[in-house]
Symmetry: C2
Subunit: 209 residues, 2 copies
């Protein structure tokens, strides 16, 4: 049974997944330097075959994820109508998704096929319909909700997420976008399944009750 998962979603100790003032040279905004250091180190560890807690977490789902959904702010720093459509995301011409990736936006634009198997679809359909499309595209594999916080919150409020892997980095942002906010009773049917710390990160696994 395909699952809907949030994975490697990283927040500060004070709860922020992004700082204020996201822009071209600061995709995650101000005050969150080092937020993803654990992940880069884990990728190095994994590539070098060194293992470790962090590496084991990032590698868990490589073969089981078939499609991704993200918010438009995760795709780029722009707001409102596209000035042009030359922006192809933060990740260069070969994004790390390698699968169909749906971008939620009030300003759809043509489908954007990239190298390496990633295809960006831009849609203003209701989130439930986008999830249905993503599940179809995933063809039996899981769908990941990539972020940012507002997108995860939308799917949590709708009760559509099966598992969240939240990672707490040992930094303080002071301000920004909180993951655990605007949820109404969106967490009422979830529980913490495990908490594991490495020297660089604390991994919190949240599942349905």
């Amino acid at each position: 049974m395909a699952k809907v998962r949030v994975e490697n979603f990283t927040i500060t100790v004070d709860g922020f997944s992004a700082g204020v003032n996201q822009r071209m040279d600061a995709p995650f905004g101000d005050g969150v330097d080092g937020l993803h250091d654990w992940m880069f180190a884990a990728q190095d560890d994994k590539a070098a075959g060194r293992g470790g807690i962090d590496a084991s977490y990032i590698g868990r789902y490589d073969d089981t994820t078939g499609a991704t959904i993200m918010g438009r702010n995760m795709f780029g720093p722009f707001r409102g109508p596209w000035e042009d459509e030359s922006w192809q995301g933060w990740w260069g011409d070969n994004p790390p998704y390698h699968r169909d990736t749906f971008v939620l936006t009030h300003h759809p634009r043509p489908t954007l096929p990239m190298k390496g198997g990633t295809t960006f679809y831009f849609t203003d359909d209701p989130i439930e319909q986008v999830l249905e499309r993503a599940l179809t595209a995933a063809n039996g594999k899981d769908v990941t909700i990539g972020g940012g916080a507002a997108t995860v919150q939308q799917y949590l409020r709708a009760g559509l997420i099966d598992e969240l892997h939240v990672v707490v980095s040992p930094i303080l942002a002071g301000a920004g976008e909180r993951l655990f906010d605007n949820l109404a009773d969106g967490l009422g049917n979830y529980r913490v399944d495990s908490v594991v710390s490495s020297p660089k990160a604390t991994h919190v696994q949240i599942v349905r009750r």
Copy 2:
């Protein structure tokens, strides 16, 4: 040099130190069942000489703390003027402080000496002056800021806290009082010094930069 510390301050994974609707039979409000389970188990472990991460944290400061400051909501469930002054706190006639304890309140009442060395002083003085009184009372030992969240936030905004030991319990509250809120740039001069997880709790030590 005496320090001003927050210790054993426990929050949920989603950041709350208390749920909504604090009342007589729910000192921490709704939705936070199990918030302090780690602490009770650690106290048992310590009493039995079993040690462990959690026990080592709660025992760190037994001999070095000389006075405590808390907000009125930590002292009791009442708001506004005291209907009477028979309430003596949540802790029975021998509170676990065993030292001078200052309660911040807009509704002062007479000093309340208890068994075991705890004396509650009720004051509406500015927080800086209360801290001076507490440091004098501590006579060279540290002062702890007990809570709740609003009291810790006041002292953080004023830059008066030297160290915070925050404990994350593996539960989700969904709503309540957040520790890391209303801080303006109150965290700007602090950094995370360490993060350590036991099976029951994640200990985050925050210190001045």
